[in-house]
Subunit: 369 residues, 2 copies
């Protein structure tokens, strides 16, 4: 059966020397991982096209059920793995998404990655992850190859320059932690940080706090701006409430320094609550309070944001806003997959909830209520 067509096939195209005809398939036993769809076809007694149809699940009405079974059996038998490069070359699609975050050592972004990877895997997609371009240096553009290596991009707005480099790419782009009104992205996925901050404000107000200082991360990013505005909005209408803002470098040491500045001065003017943009800042604030000989939460209440592992490691444990990082990552990936598939992607806001622990207590000077 085989070879019937081969004799005539090359007759015209062949100008070369009387080379010996290919005696051995040379394919099956060649390399370890080198079994191709043609090998499967040979084993199942069908054409390579049929293998592609069957394994691509597009065989209904094109291949008989019997042969389809034979193909699947042969594929399993030979442990056939489709060659990703060939498939990509043919279809133009890599089943891969690019995730761009500022740093994985930030636990929040590690969680985002985990959620995104899980959502991607459910659709047989992979995730590749580019570290901060700062870490790599400007000499090499890590995004040069993105167009050909990836079907779409999820990017945190905190990786600013990377995002700029990506804009021109023409790839579907989902933005994280970014202004929903931002153009250029097919969708935006945010944790509802504004609502989270409102819950913090309500919690502290109910505990009688009126002199509040906001330890604000000194990063020009939409999330932090939104947190600050939400806090201000929640306090502006409350009679007797006073909000101050203290910028802080985003680290434990930065929180310590900022809190020390915030707590300086006479006791009567001292804030009774420190609202921090991040759990790291809150951990620093805890230290500052203790170094002044004061106690959390009896003298000063402290709140965090994000609910990292840190929040329950410090003492007292932090009242903080839990941001579901995994959900954010998963929602971002879902939106991206929709966009890649041509369906409209929709922006999402995932809820954030205040988790009350032991770093907050009634304000020491609260008379009424």
């Amino acid at each position: 059966m085989r070879g019937a067509h081969e004799d005539g096939r090359h007759a015209a195209a062949r100008t070369g020397p009387p080379e010996a005809r290919e005696p051995a398939p040379r394919s099956a036993a060649g390399r370890g991982g080198g079994v191709t769809s043609r090998d499967v076809a040979r084993a199942a007694g069908v054409s390579q096209a049929a293998v592609s149809l069957v394994l691509g699940d597009k065989w209904r009405g094109r291949v008989s059920a019997a042969k389809a079974d034979a193909v699947r059996a042969a594929a399993r038998e030979l442990d056939y793995r489709p060659n990703a490069a060939a498939r990509t070359l043919r279809t133009g699609g890599t089943r891969t998404a690019l995730l761009v975050v500022p740093a994985l050592t930030n636990e929040f972004f590690a969680g985002v990655h985990a959620g995104a990877a899980r959502a991607a895997a459910a659709h047989d997609f992979g995730v590749v992850l580019y570290p901060s371009p700062e870490g790599i240096g400007p000499a090499r553009d890590p995004f040069a190859a993105a167009h050909t290596a990836v079907d779409g991009v999820i990017a945190s707005s905190m990786a600013t320059d990377a995002v700029r480099a990506l804009r021109a790419g023409g790839l579907p782009l989902v933005m994280l932690d970014s202004d929903p009104a931002d153009a250029g992205a097919v969708a935006t996925v945010n944790a509802d940080v504004a609502d989270g901050m409102r819950q913090v404000a309500r919690h502290l107000l109910e505990l009688g706090h009126r002199r509040i200082t906001h330890l604000a991360a000194a990063i020009d990013s939409w999330t932090f701006t939104a947190r600050g505005r939400a806090l201000a909005d929640a306090l502006i209408a409350v009679p007797g409430a006073r909000l101050r803002t203290e910028p802080a470098e985003l680290s434990v040491a930065g929180g310590l320094a900022a809190a020390q500045r915030a707590l300086a001065g006479p006791a009567a003017a001292r804030p009774t609550a420190l609202v921090c943009d991040d759990d790291l800042l809150a951990a620093g604030a805890l230290k500052a309070v203790r170094r002044l000989g004061l106690r959390v939460p009896y003298d000063v209440s402290v709140t965090g944001f994000d609910d990292l592992a840190l929040a329950t490691a410090v003492e007292p444990e932090l009242t903080t806003v839990r941001l579901p990082a995994g959900t954010v990552g998963a929602a971002g990936m879902t939106a991206l997959l929709d966009a890649v598939a041509g369906r409209g992607a929709e922006s999402t806001t995932v809820p954030a909830r205040l988790t009350v622990r032991t770093s907050t207590a009634p304000a020491p000077d609260a008379q009424r209520r």
Copy 2:
């Protein structure tokens, strides 16, 4: 000289003004990222093969310097990006390494990733990262595609079942945190945890501690075994020294529980130092000590391991062993790249150093010295 074989097509260009550009043969302006080496060839007036040679830096003696410059100029002009899939299909090499770690939310592994990615980027390699298979479920094998998608693998021994799936792959494999005598890997890269633990032991002994309890991570992994053995070896020969071991689930809560068990009983028999396999355990131990009404470090000293961000966030700050995660990742990647290139890869042990902070102090019962 140019176009000798296709004069008919370009007839218009003979008299045309320099402005009369070829109106894009459907390729250049077609899709966003769709400029191929053939487009560059056309623009530079050479064959596609010449483009490949020049850009692959294999043109010496095959292409004139003038044409090579023209090719490079055209490539830059058109913003040509080689198609990774086509290149892979042709050469069989993806310039990509797979990193397998148990969880990125573990700060140590996030650091490993950062180091590996940096080292890879220096050689124009990318890193793809597979999350723990547990998170994905057994239905889908995330490693099925590895053979065709990746040139080599770096795996932490803590991702046990993943490693088993990879063994059969025939891909170069570098093991992290694994027994150096382990077969099957082309190289092993470890932090010198044994030496780190010896430094902990020496530090505590010099402070006069003799009753020591080891909070041991309840994970069957080479690193933790090595830590435990190193500690035991360092104490065995010291007269009067007593080592107990308390298994602990690897989390803050696990450390808390284990430390409470360790500290139960009469004060005279209580350990004066708790040596923890990990900073999370140490954070939990800190809490346990405080809940018993004791103080760190005056009543009980506590040491950690890894030097995570947590170590300086808690109070008191942890005396701990700093493991250079980034260096481990970079060394692993370097070894893997050597192996992929056919050069022999060498195993490495990167030094670990004790960082003394404020969670350790002289033993309360130390009479002499």
